[in-house]
């Protein structure tokens, strides 16, 4: 039976997904072995049930990120933190340095202090998710099985992990395959 795989894009730049597309011809091999059931590169609105593996790109930055993450954890067997933002918080977490009310400070800095015209804070209840007080890596919000660091993880590293997962092994990356940055 084909593995049901999902990928999700939280607070990140989508670079990890770009790197995933860099798998080139391996994508064709992969397509024969998995069913991609949810991903930013396809049009599925709701995260499905009974997913085997989910690659999670991005840090947990806002309430939407947190909500979908809990849904993912509930409906997925294996979670993989996909890339440095998911693993460490990386660049999105730099705003944590602005202190405890950094969610307000960062908006203030971007939309008021640096605005040339029409300075105002973005606000649309029910449409724009509120920023969390602190950006956290995925494993601080939910339990994560495996980690795939890199900014972005090079295609070869993603392949190494996917091959192990498809082979039913416990993925194990070593040496430079664990390099951050």
């Amino acid at each position: 039976m084909k593995l049901r795989v999902a990928t999700v894009w939280l607070g990140g730049c989508s670079g990890c997904h770009m790197s995933f597309l860099d798998l080139d011809e391996f994508l064709i091999e992969l397509a024969g072995k998995i069913d991609l059931v949810y991903s930013p590169i396809m049009d599925v609105k709701e995260y499905p049930k009974n997913v085997d593996v989910c690659l999670i790109e991005g840090a947990v930055c806002n309430e939407d990120n947190l909500e979908i993450l809990h849904t993912i954890r509930e409906r997925t067997k294996v979670l993989v933190s996909f890339g440095d933002c998911a693993v460490t918080g990386n660049v999105p977490a730099i705003r944590n340095q602005l202190g405890l009310s950094n969610d307000e400070n960062v908006l203030q800095r971007a939309y008021i202090e640096n605005a040339q015209d029409n300075s105002s804070l973005p606000k649309a209840e029910g449409i724009l998710p509120l920023l969390l007080k602190r950006v956290v890596p995925v494993h601080e919000a939910v339990y994560v099985e495996y980690f795939l660091p890199g900014c972005p993880p090079p295609a070869g590293r993603i392949k190494a992990l996917m091959v192990q997962v498809l082979g039913g092994q416990t993925p194990k990356l070593e040496g430079t395959q664990l390099k951050f940055g």
């Binding site: 460490t88 660049v91 730099i94 202190g99 994560v144 660091p149 940055g181």
Partner: protein, 238 residues
């Protein structure tokens, strides 16, 4: 000087009295993870990555500052040591803001290299994300405190190779910081000779050349050792 005989990882070795476990292990071809150690300056045992087990002693000892003794039985690798080394590395990452992806030293960083070579795939501790500044007042160099691990290599090269005494450590614990002169902007320092040895010694992206961007900071550590060998042993060839 008298020779001492000891065992490292089951291997019989002998070395001169006064040598450290790290020196003897290195000579015997055993590689220990180190971070605050730098060839050319004395050791301080600050980073705790070279901790080893010595039979008969309950606590772990830093190989770089522990002198060898007769009959010593040293273990440089074990489950327990690997556990502590990884913990130490994770705590270093959690203490300040080491964002590898946007660091001048990305790809040439000793902390980054040690992390992956010790199998660190994530940090289990909460990041403390403190607010630290960048001192870019010096005309040639910059200091990013976010990336400093307080190994004090820069302080040691500044005092003991250059003899300028510009760099110092101020404060205690997590609030400790590297300062220039009497904690003033580096650019205002009257003692700094702008020799660049501190930049050359830094294991991370904390010290950098002005104008360098992501991944551009490469360093040649052998230059420091060369200067010391030239001075002390009158060896002028690298």
């Amino acid at each position: 000087m008298a020779a001492k005989t000891l065992t490292i990882d089951g291997k019989q070795v002998s070395a001169e009295e006064g040598a450290t476990i790290l020196e003897v292990a290195t000579d015997a071809g055993i590689k220990l993870p180190t971070l605050c150690h730098l060839d050319g300056v004395y050791d301080v045992g600050a980073c705790r990555l070279c901790l080893v087990e010595v039979a008969g002693i309950g606590k772990l000892l830093p190989a770089c500052t522990t002198k060898i003794s007769e009959g010593m039985d040293v273990k440089t690798d074990s489950e327990r040591l690997r556990k502590y080394r990884r913990m130490t590395l994770e705590l270093l990452f959690a203490e300040r803001n080491h964002v590898c992806a946007v660091c001048v030293a990305n790809g040439h960083c000793e902390l980054q290299t040690l992390a992956y070579s010790q199998g660190m795939d994530h940090v289990r501790y909460d990041y403390s994300t403190p607010k630290w500044s960048v001192d870019a007042t010096h005309r040639l160099f910059g200091m990013d405190h976010n990336r400093c691990i307080l190994c004090a290599r820069c302080v040691r090269v500044c005092w003991h190779i250059e003899g300028a005494g510009t760099k110092n450590v101020s404060g205690r614990g997590a609030k400790a910081t590297i300062i220039s002169d009497l904690n003033q902007p580096w650019g205002d320092s009257e003692t700094c000779t702008a020799c660049g040895k501190c930049v050359m010694s830094c294991p991370t992206g904390a010290l950098f050349y002005q104008g360098s961007t992501v991944s551009e900071m490469e360093r040649d550590r052998t230059k420091l050792e060369f200067i010391v060998n030239a001075r002390e042993k009158k060896q002028w060839l690298p």
